[in-house]
C-alpha cells in the first residue's frame, strides 16, 4: 500500500509516516501544494492524507484536481479547520473521511485502514487477521472454531485494535474512539478494562492466543505476528 502524506508541518508529517509505516505501508511525504500536485501526477497512491491549509494553496484545490483527473486515490482530510462548512465542502468534493487536528495517531491509523478497506473490497468488507475473519458490514467475527459472538462495542474495539495492530494505544484514545469526544466527563476510564477483559476472554475461549497485551499505566497493544 502506498500513502501520500500532504502536510506542511514536517514534524507532524514524519510522525504520521513513522506510525503508519509499521505495516506494509509505504509513506511518501509532500510539504506544499506544488509538491503534492507533482507527486499525485507521477504516482498512484492508495490513500492520500491531505491537510487543507497549505503554504501555497488549499488542500481542497488538490482534491478538486484529483477528481477532475479522475484519479481513484482515496483521500482522508486532516485539518484544524473544524468549521462545519469545510467538512461539508471537503466531503462533497469527494473526500472519503475527515479528521480534525489534533488527533491521535491511532485514530488516524484506524481511519486510514477503514478508507482502504472500503476501497479495496468495494462493499465486501472482510478483514482477515491471523485466524480471525471479520465481516465489517455484518459485524460478525469468525474464529478458528467458528462464529464468535461479540457485542457492538467489543466488535468496534476489535476493529480499532486491528487497525492499529502491534502498536500501543492509550486508554483515552480507545474511550474517545468508542464513545466520542465527550467522555472526558468521566473521572476514570476503568470501565474500558471490563470491555477489554470480556473481549479477550471471548477470543481465548474460541482458541485464539492472548492478543491483547496490557502496557501498564499507558494502554493496550494488540500483538499479532
Amino acid at each position: 500500500m502506498k500513502l501520500l502524506i500532504v502536510e506542511d508541518e514536517r514534524e507532524l508529517s514524519s510522525s504520521i509516516c513513522e506510525y503508519l509505516q509499521v505495516e506494509n505501508f509505504y509513506c511518501d511525504a509532500a510539504y506544499d501544494y506544488v509538491q503534492a500536485l507533482e507527486k499525485i501526477a507521477t504516482n498512484k497512491y492508495d490513500c492520500i492524507v491531505l491537510d487543507i491549509m497549505l503554504p501555497s494553496g488549499s488542500g481542497l484545490d488538490i482534491l478538486k484536481t484529483l477528481k477532475l483527473n479522475r484519479k481513484e486515490d482515496s483521500v482522508l482530510i486532516i485539518s484544524a479547520k473544524n468549521s462545519l462548512e469545510d467538512k461539508v465542502s471537503g466531503l462533497n468534493l469527494g473526500a472519503d473521511d475527515y479528521l480534525t487536528k489534533p488527533f491521535n495517531l491511532a485514530e488516524l491509523g484506524a481511519r486510514v485502514q477503514a478508507v482502504l478497506r472500503r476501497r479495496s473490497f468495494e462493499g465486501n468488507n472482510q478483514v482477515i487477521v491471523g485466524p480471525l475473519k471479520l465481516d465489517i458490514q455484518n459485524n460478525s467475527l469468525m474464529g478458528p472454531n467458528g462464529l464468535i459472538e461479540l457485542t457492538r462495542k467489543q466488535f468496534d474495539l476489535l476493529v480499532f485494535f486491528i487497525g492499529n495492530k502491534n502498536r500501543v494505544i492509550t486508554k483515552e484514545t480507545i474511550v474517545e474512539h468508542l464513545w466520542g469526544d465527550n467522555c472526558d466527563m468521566f473521572d476514570n476510564y476503568d470501565f474500558i478494562y471490563t470491555h477489554i477483559k470480556n473481549l479477550r476472554k471471548k477470543l481465548m475461549a474460541e482458541g485464539c492466543p492472548n492478543y491483547i497485551k496490557v502496557i501498564y499505566g499507558v494502554g493496550y497493544k494488540f500483538e499479532l505476528n
Binding site: Y19, M185, F191
Partner: protein, 431 residues
C-alpha cells in the same frame, strides 16, 4: 410615539394657539372699529343738536322713532370735554340688558347750562362676537382635519425611504454576506444616511470576516503544534524499553495535552457562538436528542451514577450543533460535579428541561456562575468554560436558563417558548 403623531401633536397645538389668539384679536379690533363708528355718529348728532340749539336757543324735540335718545338736564357745572362711555340699561319689556354708547357734554342754552346725553344702542355686537367665535372654531376644525390628513399622506410618502432603509437594515446579518440594497431617493438626507449605513455595514462585514479568519487562523496555529506534541507522544509510547517512571511522565503529558486541546476547542466554540456562526436553526426533538446521549453514555454512568429521565416530547427551534453541545455540556456538568453513587435527574416537558444532580453541599455563586473561567472548586478538572458556553448557547437560541440549589442538589432549568412550535404538522417524528 410615532414621528407623525408627535409632529401632529405639536402642529395642532400651535394652530389652536394661533387661532385662539387671532380670534381674540379679531374680536377686539372689530369691536373697536364699531365703537369708533358709533362715536363718529354720536359726534354728528351732537353737531346737529348744537347747530339747532345755537340757532333756536331751545331744546330740540326728541322723536321716538329716532334710534338715539337725547336727554337735556340742567347742571351747575360747565364741562369743557366731550365724554364717551359704554353703559348698560335694563330693557324691562324684553327683560334683558342692552348696551348703549353715550356721548355726554355740557352746553349753554339761554342762561342755563345743560348736561346733554346722547345715547345710541350698540346693536349686533354680541351677535358679531359669537359669529366670529363660531367661524373661528369651524375654520380651525377644517384646518386641523386637513392638516392631519395631508400630513399623514405627505409625511408617510416623504418618510417611506427611511422605513425602507430600516427594513433593509433589519434583514442585515453579519454572518451572511449579502449586499444591502438601499432605496435611491430624491431626499438628500436619506441618501446621506443610506450611504453611511452602507459604509458602516460594509466595514462591519469586513471586520467580521477578518475576525473570523483570525479565530480560524489562531486555532490552526495552535492546533498544529498540539497535533505534533500528541503525535510525538503517540510514537513515544511505542518504545518497548520505557521504564515505569517514564511512562508515568508520558501519562501526565497526555493529560495536560488533553486539557489544553479542550481549552482551545472551547474558546474557539465560544468565539464562534459569539460571532453568530451557528445561525441556521431547525426544529429539534429534545427528547430524541437526549435519549441518543443517554444511550451513548449509559454504560459509562452505570457503575458511578444513577441517571433518571422522565421525558415528554418537546421541541425546540435551535441550531443542531449547538443543541448537541448544549446537551453534552449539561450532562457533562452534572456528571463532573457529582458525588460517588450520586444521581442525575432529567425532566422534560414542552418548553422546559430541568437537569438536577447531586453534588457539593454548597450553592454555586449565582452571579459568577455563567462567567468564563468560573470555578466553584479551584482544583476542578474542568476549564471553567462549560457553563459559560451553555449560557451563550441559551442566549443565542432564545432559551432562559436558571440555577437552583436545594439541599445538596444542583438544578438547572431551561425554558423556552414552544407554543409556535406545536402547530406544525411537518414534523416526521410522532410524539
Amino acid at each position: 410615539m410615532k414621528l407623525i403623531s408627535k409632529y401632529n401633536r405639536i402642529n395642532i397645538l400651535l394652530i389652536v394657539v394661533i387661532f385662539v389668539m387671532s380670534s381674540m384679536a379679531l374680536n377686539f379690533f372689530v369691536k373697536r372699529t364699531m365703537i369708533s363708528e358709533l362715536d363718529e355718529a354720536l359726534q354728528e348728532i351732537k353737531d346737529r343738536a348744537s347747530n339747532y340749539t345755537q340757532k333756536e336757543q331751545k331744546i330740540p324735540v326728541n322723536f321716538t322713532l329716532d334710534d338715539y335718545h337725547i336727554v337735556y338736564a340742567i347742571t351747575p357745572n360747565l364741562r369743557q370735554n366731550d365724554l364717551y362711555k359704554t353703559i348698560a340699561h335694563t330693557n324691562h319689556e324684553k327683560n334683558k340688558i342692552q348696551n348703549f354708547r353715550e356721548l355726554s357734554y355740557t352746553t349753554n342754552i339761554g342762561q342755563f347750562t345743560y348736561l346733554v346725553k346722547i345715547e345710541k344702542p350698540i346693536e349686533g355686537m354680541r351677535q358679531m362676537a359669537a359669529n366670529i367665535i363660531n367661524l373661528s372654531i369651524v375654520t380651525l376644525l377644517i384646518v386641523v382635519l386637513f392638516l392631519v390628513v395631508v400630513n399623514r399622506y405627505v409625511l408617510t410618502r416623504l418618510w417611506s425611504p427611511f422605513y425602507k432603509s430600516l427594513e433593509v437594515m433589519d434583514r442585515f446579518q453579519l454572518n451572511k454576506q449579502n449586499d444591502l440594497d438601499f432605496p435611491i431617493t430624491s431626499t438628500e438626507e436619506f441618501n446621506y444616511m443610506n450611504a453611511i449605513l452602507k459604509r458602516s455595514t460594509l466595514k462591519a462585514g469586513e471586520d467580521y470576516v477578518a475576525l473570523k479568519e483570525f479565530t480560524e487562523n489562531a486555532s490552526h496555529e495552535l492546533q498544529t503544534p498540539l497535533a505534533i506534541i500528541g503525535s510525538k507522544l503517540d510514537l513515544l509510547i511505542q518504545d518497548e524499553n520505557l521504564s515505569e517512571k517514564q511512562e508515568e511522565k508520558i501519562r501526565s503529558a497526555y493529560t495536560a495535552l488533553k486539557r489544553i486541546s479542550q481549552l482551545n476547542q472551547s474558546l474557539l466554540l465560544s468565539a464562534k457562538i459569539g460571532n453568530q456562526q451557528f445561525a441556521e436553526k431547525s426544529r429539534i426533538s429534545f427528547k430524541q436528542k437526549i435519549n441518543e446521549k443517554l444511550n451513548q453514555f449509559q454504560e459509562l454512568w452505570e457503575e458511578q451514577i444513577v441517571v433518571n429521565a422522565n421525558m415528554e416530547e418537546s421541541f425546540v427551534l435551535m441550531n443542531k450543533d449547538l443543541n448537541d453541545t448544549l446537551i453534552n455540556n449539561l450532562l457533562s456538568n452534572a456528571t463532573k460535579h457529582n458525588v460517588l453513587n450520586g444521581s442525575i435527574r432529567i425532566q422534560l416537558i414542552p418548553g422546559e428541561l430541568s437537569i438536577t444532580n447531586t453534588g457539593t453541599n454548597q450553592a454555586l455563586d449565582s452571579k459568577k456562575l455563567f462567567q468564563r473561567f468560573y470555578k466553584s472548586d479551584q482544583n476542578s478538572r474542568g476549564n471553567g468554560l462549560g457553563l459559560s458556553i451553555i449560557k451563550q448557547i441559551c442566549d443565542t437560541s432564545g432559551i432562559t436558563i436558571n440555577y437552583y440549589y436545594i439541599e445538596n442538589t444542583h438544578k438547572f432549568v431551561l425554558s423556552w417558548n414552544y407554543q409556535h412550535m406545536e402547530n406544525k404538522n411537518t414534523w416526521p417524528f410522532k410524539p
